[in-house]
């Protein structure tokens, strides 16, 4: 394989993983944009969705892509419930309180998973996730391709929802000016619940897609936690397009850094890119 082809392969990998990163960050960013709230247990929501998908596959024989709507709805419900009981009481509070509460939630969810399902690794053996597609010399696994594709479709769907529906527009209005939104007859409490639900549903979809490529374990959320913050901040906290841009940027940075420098340094380089972005644009690439 020539250097050029290897390079192309790297770019492809970066873009594919970037789509999933974007989806993970999107959920966080939607919530932050509307509610000024950071959910540190976002990775644990992904983990729960992975387990839901796994059990539907193992116990009922449902393919992850078929059970996707169910996992998504479950996570939407979980998000909405968390919003009512955990987020609403502390919404106007200082940021440390948000950290505190959602860290509590993180510990709770992570260990309830350990408690019920034990700490064993589980993998979901679909018939297609290990099939390899060849585009010339570039090789892509069907699992990755599917998950990136679904991530992209879901993202576009979400974008259309925000752009075209009354509720979507009301959510955006609330994120810009919650008081005036109230004056326009928008039930802001309901919007918050919906937003948190939607953000969690993003985590739900991401979880389903990750089962195609990644093993499942109670601690799996840890990998997404720091990463999704990095993506959100680089792209611009609270900005829809920012999350997507950030996702692809970080995906590409990771791949290119691994390819051009050394795999061991890819995370350091991601963090350095993160810091540099922040210093040049303190509110992220798309932030205002």
């Amino acid at each position: 394989m020539s250097w050029g082809m290897l390079f192309l392969q790297t770019i492809t990998n970066g873009l594919l993983i970037g789509a999933v990163y974007a989806l993970i960050a999107l959920g966080l960013n939607v919530i932050y944009g509307v509610m000024d709230f950071i959910n540190f247990a976002h990775g644990e929501f992904i983990m729960l969705s992975m387990y839901a998908t796994y059990f539907m596959f193992v116990l009922l024989g449902w393919d992850p892509l078929l059970s996707l709507p169910i996992s998504m709805l479950m996570l939407f419900g979980l998000g909405a419930i968390s919003e009512i009981f955990l987020v609403k009481p502390i919404l106007g509070e200082r940021m440390v309180i948000q950290v505190f509460t959602t860290y509590g939630l993180l510990l709770f969810l992570r260990n309830i998973a350990t408690f019920f399902w034990s700490s064993t690794w589980r993998t979901l053996p679909t018939s297609y996730s290990d099939v390899v597609l060849s585009l010339g010399e570039i090789r892509i696994s069907l699992g990755y391709a599917l998950s990136s594709l679904v991530a992209l479709i879901f993202t576009i769907g979400l974008y259309m929802f925000f752009k075209k529906t009354d509720t979507g527009i009301a959510i955006r209005a609330t994120s810009q000016d919650r008081e005036t939104a109230k004056l326009m007859g928008v039930d802001v409490n309901k919007i918050y619940m919906l937003t948190f639900g939607l953000g969690s549903a993003c985590a739900g979809v991401a979880g389903v897609l990750l089962t195609l490529v990644y093993p499942i374990q109670p601690e799996v959320g840890e990998i997404f936690c720091v990463l999704s913050f990095v993506i959100c901040v680089v792209g611009g906290m609270g900005n829809f397009m920012g999350a997507i841009l950030g996702g692809f940027l970080i995906g590409l940075t990771e791949s290119l850094a691994g390819f051009l420098v050394a795999p061991a340094y890819k995370h350091i380089i991601v963090f350095i890119v993160f810091i540099i972005t922040l210093l040049i644009r303190p509110k992220g690439l798309m932030g205002k």
Binding site: Q9, I17, T114, W121, P218, V220, E222, P263
Partner: protein, 427 residues
């Protein structure tokens, strides 16, 4: 302004709830300080502490070790307990290190001073052993370690530290010796090797040892063409595999954790990376999860597994059968060593005929166990002055049709290895 009104709205109920929480916390803390949680010492009981990561990223290992130790202890107790102590029963008190060195030290402190254990077992991770062993040292309580393989652990001059398992230096050398034998036996020359290891304590140690070995004349025939440390908390490992593709080594030596071993194997396949053999050491490659996670793709991988359920040794197969019957899966490299360590400690206590930590330590120092008494493919157990078991050995397995088959050392092996491995297309 809304904020102010919500603050005002902090109700009495909330106030009461908080005060109750605080009150409970204070009362519990006070109770805890006044009456430490110690059970009344039974004369017929030998208390041993077990520090394992029961939660956190390494919880699987902790749980499996705990199962194995519980099995061993139940067997010992059913067979009449410690005979030299009139049949006193072993009682293991498990503590959760959460994989955090700070907590491990904390738990060692608690087990020794509050529960009054006469020996400690633990703690899988070299990081947690590094903090909990000095605590035992300070209180002069023997610490029997089953699976922390970082070389330095026996270099600190700790007198009460006994490591049953061989350390990474030996295991790494063992994989090299195996490859040498393999290449010669199959008549397939090996010229280039690559190292791929995760970049924390476990993988880094292995990487360093391998690199060091490669500089020695014994292995000078092999050329190191790629040295790739990586971060195991990634969602993709494409860059690592691309490095390998660039280097095209004959054999890849790997030290990985579970999820990355699975991801790497899938990526090897996806990016069509071919070589003559993958040789993993411990970590991900020796777990059932690797086999489940990779399915067919995991076949033909060699792993330094420390142990294999198909060892040509009846005592091993019986122990595994009992374990499998009880828990529904096989003993693995970690749990088998934990099982062995529990027996080693029991034999020492039996020999000491005392629950005095000092006596047990002396018994451990002089302990000599023959090869056929233990389930590991070792020459036995005997500690040197540093507390290292010098009779330990490795055990190489190959995954064939999703099963671990032992291939080396030949005395206990039951399978003739496949080398070089078939290409992805041929499978």
């Amino acid at each position: 302004m809304e904020k102010l009104s919500s603050k005002e709205a902090i109700t009495k109920i909330q106030a009461v709830v908080v005060s109750v929480i605080i009150a409970i916390a204070v009362i519990v803390a006070a109770y805890f300080a006044a009456f430490p949680p110690s059970q009344k010492p039974l004369v017929t009981e030998v208390k041993i502490g077990g520090i394992y990561p029961l939660t956190g990223a390494y919880a699987v290992l902790g749980r499996n070790d705990r199962y194995a130790i519980e099995l061993a202890v139940d067997e010992i107790n059913e067979a009449g307990g410690v005979k030299s102590l009139d049949g006193a029963l072993l009682h293991i008190i498990f503590a959760d290190s959460e994989g955090d060195p700070k907590r491990a030290a904390d738990e060692a402190e608690r087990l020794i001073t509050v529960d009054g254990v006469c020996a400690i077992m633990g703690s899988i991770l070299s990081g947690t052993t590094s903090t909990s062993a000095p605590v035992a040292e300070r209180y002069k309580v023997p610490y029997v370690n089953e699976g922390s393989t970082s070389i330095t652990l026996t270099e600190h001059g700790w007198e009460y530290f006994f490591r049953v398992t061989p350390h990474d230096g030996l295991y790494c050398k063992f994989t090299f010796d195996f490859l040498k034998w393999l290449a010669k036996d199959k008549g397939v020359p090996v010229k280039t090797v690559a190292l791929l290891y995760e970049n924390t304590l476990f993988g880094k140690t292995a990487g360093d040892v391998w690199k060091d070995l490669l500089t020695q004349p014994e292995y000078s025939e092999w050329e190191l063409v790629a040295d790739i440390p990586y971060d195991s908390k990634s969602l993709q490992y494409d860059t690592e595999v691309m490095e390998l593709k660039k280097a095209q080594p004959d054999v890849v030596f790997m030290a990985t954790y579970t999820e990355d071993s699975i991801m790497l194997q899938k990526t090897f396949h996806r990016l069509d990376f071919e070589c003559k053999a993958f040789i993993g050491i411990d970590g991900g490659h020796i777990t059932q999860y690797f086999v489940e996670g990779t399915g067919k793709l995991g076949d033909y991988v060699f792993a330094e597994a420390r142990w294999s359920p198909d060892l040509k040794r009846s005592i091993s197969q019986e122990a595994n059968a009992r374990f499998n019957e009880r828990y529904g899966f096989n003993l693995d490299g970690h749990s088998a060593r934990a099982y062995t360590a529990a027996y080693v400690l029991y034999w020492a206590i039996e020999k000491a005929g005392s629950t005095n930590p000092e006596d047990i330590k002396n018994a451990l120092v002089n302990l000599e166990i023959a090869a056929d008494e233990i389930i590991m493919p070792w020459d036995g157990v005997k500690f040197d002055s540093k507390g290292q078991n010098i009779l330990g050995k490795g055990c190489i397995v190959q995954i064939i049709n999703g099963e671990f088959r032992s291939v080396y050392p030949r005395e206990t092996a039951t399978f003739d290895p496949v080398f070089p491995q078939p290409s992805w297309e041929e499978r």
